[in-house]
Amino acid sequence: MRNSDNRPRLSRRAFLKVSAGAVAASGIAWPKKAKARSTGKLATLIDLSLCDGCPGLDVPACVSACKTINRDKIPPVADPIPVPWPRKTVEDWSRRREVSDRLTPYNYLYVHRAEVDVDGVPKTLFVPRRCMHCENPACATICPFAANHKHENGAVVIDQDLCFGGAKCKTVCPWEIPQRQSGVGIYLHILPDYMGNGVMYKCDLCHDRLGRGESPGCIEACPQKAMLIGPRDGMLAEAERRAQQMKGFLYGRDENGGTSTFYVSPVPFDRIDATIQKGPGRPHMRPGVERQMAGMDGLGKAVLAAPAVGLVAGALTWLSDRKARVEKEGKKDV
């Protein structure tokens, strides 16, 4: 296996063979309830050597499944939608719910198309894109209302009943995944003109289905079995094994401090990133994305040490005062 931005040298036929063999050899079954039900952190694997974008279907099967599952998730949108003050940003996708080629509040998964060149041969890769469910997601940890949270199974889930739609999660996400629907949510009942602006939506890894022991809809629907879910350690080992066997590349293991989504590709991700159409709702795929909050971990540790520092300093100051007082009284006695 190589770093994600190294150049691979592997023909399409070769990597398909390797991938198929690897799956067979690994003994890892395709989604099973037992896997999804397992306690501890889960992760998903997306094998780009297997995804074919569902030719013949208007909308890839995984995207259709996702849309169907989440069809009624967003409540009716206020009409008219309050216009926030003073920055008058309103994001309304309620009249474009059918959009499936980018992320929207009504579409949490789309298949990104990448036209790349492998050994001089043009090749089309299909890259299912959604929330990466990061290991330490800033979108969740610094949500001011804890509306977004990483659960023990690894899923990063926005509670639409708590979210004010301030889009902070989108701002701090390296891929700007969460998408806002204005005119829904708790903010309507408080100060809609001055505070909040809707609800943020994104993939929740089918958290409810996982709770019932089912697999995420996209994984279950994939005819190519290009996606897997299972315990994180096992998924990572499998992703690394596949990447090694196809002399390919991994994405998601190290990005943003580690995620719960491992892409395996025969083509380096910097080349995929260079060719995909990027923009709002269509995130980049730049390798080596750093976790922004990593730079302040040192200060955070100092915060956690501050109580001990204060206690020790207080005790030492008291001791010093007492010593000075005793010495002073001793001198007086003399």
Partner: protein
């Protein structure tokens, strides 16, 4: 207790340097926490605050979180220092006493011309109550903030109930802290309280003010230092009012000793002025003159 009377300068030392350092560490870091905490809300861009020169960082959550962390270190350390230091010293001056609530209401009424103030100890009863209120708010903020920081660093998948509790305790504490801060500043704006303001900058307040308004405190100081009370008149002559300006100008924090000084003031200084003789008529209107009770 570092409190002592410096009669020749018409001053009473009210706060030690350590106490001043504690107060300002908590106050300034608390202010930085308030501002950086507000900027953790998505308001910098929405309200164009980031367009104000010098405040572009208001829309950068990473910068404001860095500021928040940095200020927290000072805030948390100072608060814990305060608890252990004064706990070990056995300082109880700010601990509420029986009847403080009722007396506070009387004092507040007196601010609006209804009735007269009772004599005070070092602190007003409402200061003691406010201290407890502020301590509770600060404890809420610190405990919940530490949980949130731990979660940010080590446990993003911390139990959701714990995260929700920590978040909302922090948010409610944030609002209460703003209110308490406003009340704190508002209290200083009240005319009868203004002479106390210099105390938190220099460590000392005017002796004539203290004798007028805090006679129980002065008695405590003098009671602890036998012989010193002889210089002090038991009560001010009737009709005498407090002065606005102290008859000394040369006082600074550097002059405030950290330890208790000897009773009776410093040697080699000009003859002490008796506060009761100081500039009648130059201070508070007669109606606001506190009684000696």
């Amino acid at each position: 207790m570092s409190d002592r009377i410096v009669r020749e300068r018409n001053l009473v030392v009210r706060h030690s340097i350590v106490e001043l350092a504690e107060h300002w560490a908590v106050a300034l870091s608390g202010l930085a926490l308030l501002v950086s905490g507000m900027f953790q809300l998505p308001m910098g861009s929405r309200y164009y605050i980031n367009a104000i020169p010098g405040l572009a960082w208001s829309a950068d959550y990473m910068v404001s979180l860095n500021v928040h962390y940095a200020a927290s270190i000072v805030f948390v350390a100072a608060a814990l220092f305060h608890v252990i230091y004064h706990g070990l010293r056995g300082d109880r001056g700010m601990v509420p006493r029986k009847g403080d609530l009722r007396t506070s209401i009387e004092v507040m009424k007196s601010f609006f011309g209804k009735g007269e103030e009772p004599p005070f100890h070092k602190y007003l009863p409402e200061q003691r109550l406010a201290y407890v209120g502020m301590a509770v708010i600060i404890a809420m903020l610190i405990v919940s903030g530490l949980v949130k920081t731990y979660k940010n660093l080590y446990a993003p998948d911390l139990n959701y109930a714990v995260v929700l509790w920590a978040t909302w305790v922090h948010n409610i504490g944030f609002v209460l802290f703003i209110l308490a801060f406003a009340a704190h500043i508002g209290a200083i704006a009240l005319k009868p309280n203004r002479p106390m303001l210099r105390g938190i900058f220099t460590g000392a307040v005017r002796l004539d003010y203290a004798e007028h308004r805090h006679p129980l405190w002065i008695e405590e100081i003098e009671g602890a230092k036998p012989g010193a009370g002889a210089e002090r008149p038991a009560t001010l002559p009737e009709g005498t009012v407090a002065v606005e300006e102290a008859p000394v100008v040369a006082e600074a924090a550097a002059e405030v000793p950290r330890e208790s000084g000897a009773a009776g003031g410093e040697s080699g200084v000009a003859a002490p002025e008796k506060p009761g003789e100081a500039e009648p008529g130059s201070g508070k209107p007669p109606g606001e003159s506190p009684s000696q009770g």
